[in-house]
């Protein structure tokens, strides 16, 4: 074996030096290598909380007596519940749950206090929005535990006997929209939004950077095409592809997971088009920044990571600190998830999804205008 055939540290060193030179040149990739772990640390360390507390709770107190107030006070003391709304009528309760204004509604019936004292064990109704079972499970557990002790302090004198045995009232918990607490009912419709976010952003981003990387952008720019024509031409085919994904997921959701589909599928289709377009516009905007296809994928991932973690797909949205919720509110996936779950599980109509739809549209308009502004007609 001649000396040239042996392993050479000099040659290895040449390779290593070259590799570092190239890593340093691609500043975006280098930034991602630092940025992604940092983002993950922040999100997993500070934003994500699988034991959400301070869940918004509505109380409809028709009794206005001491016992009802005692239960509500005990709930608040548990830190799981935070009273945010005081509805008056049954209709208001329905709207609050449908629009997701509150996670729980406590209904204290008329004469609740008096009937507790009479030992009649009246019903106390707690309705939970169980579309995301994970968000409500711990709170409901805590509720069962505190129910008995909640009113015992008020049972004095002749009523002290009621402290023994079962709770002096009948706590009835209704898990609305998903009574069995099936996590699949929550995950599968949500997955539709996640899959669309992942594929649509990266697809368009690649479609445009590919033109630049292969040099075909120059010929494209030399042709009489307007930016809007290029942009729509890049976006529309992927709307079709996105739709095929949606149909596939919906059919699987129905046939394999038996996900309930209560609301209007037409309404869902319209919202889905808006959501797909919003993601495609994000991809198009990224493509005006990314220099090559690798960077396009990296940027797609950088968008995907907070989308999946902060949208309420993986972890309860209400468990996150305020800053994370604000970030989540910006992301289109957050609003799409609420709409999809609302339409499929709650049977929401156009009225109930209006605010989330508005947020989606606002996102779309902002991103599209950025994309158009950034897309250059020239090679400078």
């Amino acid at each position: 074996m001649s000396p040239q055939d042996r392993f050479s540290f000099a040659r290895l060193n040449a390779m290593i030096v070259k590799e570092f030179v190239q890593i340093r040149r691609d500043t975006l990739t280098f930034g991602m290598m630092v940025g992604i772990p940092l983002l993950q640390l922040l999100l997993f360390g500070f934003a994500i909380n699988s034991d959400p507390k301070h869940l918004p709770t509505a109380v409809r107190d028709a009794d206005h007596g001491t016992m009802g107030r005692a239960v509500v006070a005990a709930m608040q003391a548990s830190k799981y519940f935070e009273i945010t709304v005081l509805p008056e009528t049954e209709a208001e309760v329905e709207t609050i749950l449908a629009e997701g204004q509150a996670q729980f509604v406590v209904t204290v019936p008329v004469d609740f206090s008096r009937r507790v004292l009479r030992g009649e064990r009246p019903a106390l109704l707690v309705e939970a929005d169980a579309t995301d079972p994970a968000a409500t499970a711990n709170a409901l557990n805590a509720l069962e535990k505190l129910a008995g002790g909640a009113v015992s302090r008020d049972l004095v004198g002749p009523f002290a006997g009621l402290r023994q045995g079962a709770a002096p009232f009948d706590l009835r918990v209704h898990r609305r929209y998903n009574p069995e607490g099936e996590t699949a009912f929550n995950i599968v419709p949500g997955l539709m939004g996640v899959v669309l976010t992942m594929t649509m952003v990266i697809m368009t981003c690649l479609a445009v950077t590919r033109e630049r990387e292969r040099g075909t952008m120059e010929a494209l720019l030399a042709m009489p095409l307007k930016p809007i024509e290029v942009m729509l031409g890049k976006i529309l085919p992927y709307i079709v592809i996105g739709y095929i994904q949606v149909v596939f997921i919906m059919v699987t959701a129905k046939l394999v997971f038996a996900v309930p589909m209560v609301g209007s599928l037409w309404l869902l289709s319209v919202v889905t088009v808006i959501f797909i377009t919003a993601n495609l516009a994000v991809g198009f905007t990224f493509s005006t920044i990314a220099a090559n296809q690798l960077q396009a994928v990296e940027m797609g991932f950088f968008f995907f990571l907070p989308s999946i973690l902060l949208s309420g797909f993986m972890f309860p949205f209400r468990g996150m600190p305020a800053w994370a919720q604000v970030m989540g509110e910006i992301l289109p996936l957050t609003h799409f998830l609420r709409i999809v779950r609302g339409i499929l599980l709650k049977g929401n109509g156009a009225g109930e999804i209006l605010s989330d739809l508005g947020a989606l549209l606002a996102f779309l308009v902002v991103v599209c205008s950025v994309a158009i502004r950034r897309y250059r007609m020239t090679l400078d």
């Binding site: 040099g215 952008m217 120059e218 010929a219 009489p224 020239t378």
Partner: protein, 310 residues
Amino acid sequence: MTAAISVTGLTKRFSGRTVVDAIDLDVAEGQIMGFLGPNGSGKTTTIRMLCGLLRVDAGEGTCLGLDIREQTAAIKRQAGYMTQRFSLYEDMTVLENLDFTARVHGVPERRARVAEAVERMGLGDRGKQLAGQLSGGWKQRLALAACILHKPRLLLLDEPTAGVDPQARRDFWDRIHDFAADGMTVLVSTHYMDEAERCHAIAYIAYGRLVARGTVEQVTAASGLSAAAVRGHGGPGLVDRLKALPSVETTTSFGTVIHVAGHDGAALSADLETLAEQGVLTWVPEAPNLEDAFIHLMAGSHDNFAGTAS
């Protein structure tokens, strides 16, 4: 004759570096204008400004009577631009590429026109081949076919024959002359002297500045060079001896013949004669060629790009 291209003071800067510096260019309609200059001299940048791919930093002018600053969209509709690097879709077939280009340009009777272009370029058997699988010469033909589909009045060709074999280059130039005969104006950049000699006029650009223009004869005459063909009588180092002569500015070896050129014709004759008398060589005067002129022009231009990375 009306001017197809008429620009003055055309300037382009990239992050403070002047890449194209106040170029004046006039190309008459139906003319083939050769655009020459060393690599990185600003030829591609100039062509890109003419067809609206780059914004003009200073200067003004018209392309096909349209303002190069304001009416780029209209220029794009009437000009055909063939990029230096193959810029059609390699994952699409020859026909798919041509069909796409024709659609974008809104060519009437698209199918007939695509068929016509395929016929004219001899691409008939390759219509269903992927563009990426074509060899260099065929890619060049396809690119040209795509450029002329919309019957442009002006063709901008950026080093169209780079890496193409001599036969394909010859065919290509025959076609260019056909187009010019039909009234199309052609601006073509090249590094080949034989191609330059097939142009009606040439423009030579070095380090972003236009340093010579006119017909081949005018440019060579304007260089003021004298030249000679030298044949050595054996003995090594003749080229070095010639180079050492103060009157000799350039030497080019063609097999056994060495072509020399220099500014001072009298001194050149005298020096060569001295060597001839020593029995080292024989020589005959000959006309300076375009290459002599260019090497001379290059040597006289200041490299204002040196030291900055590109």
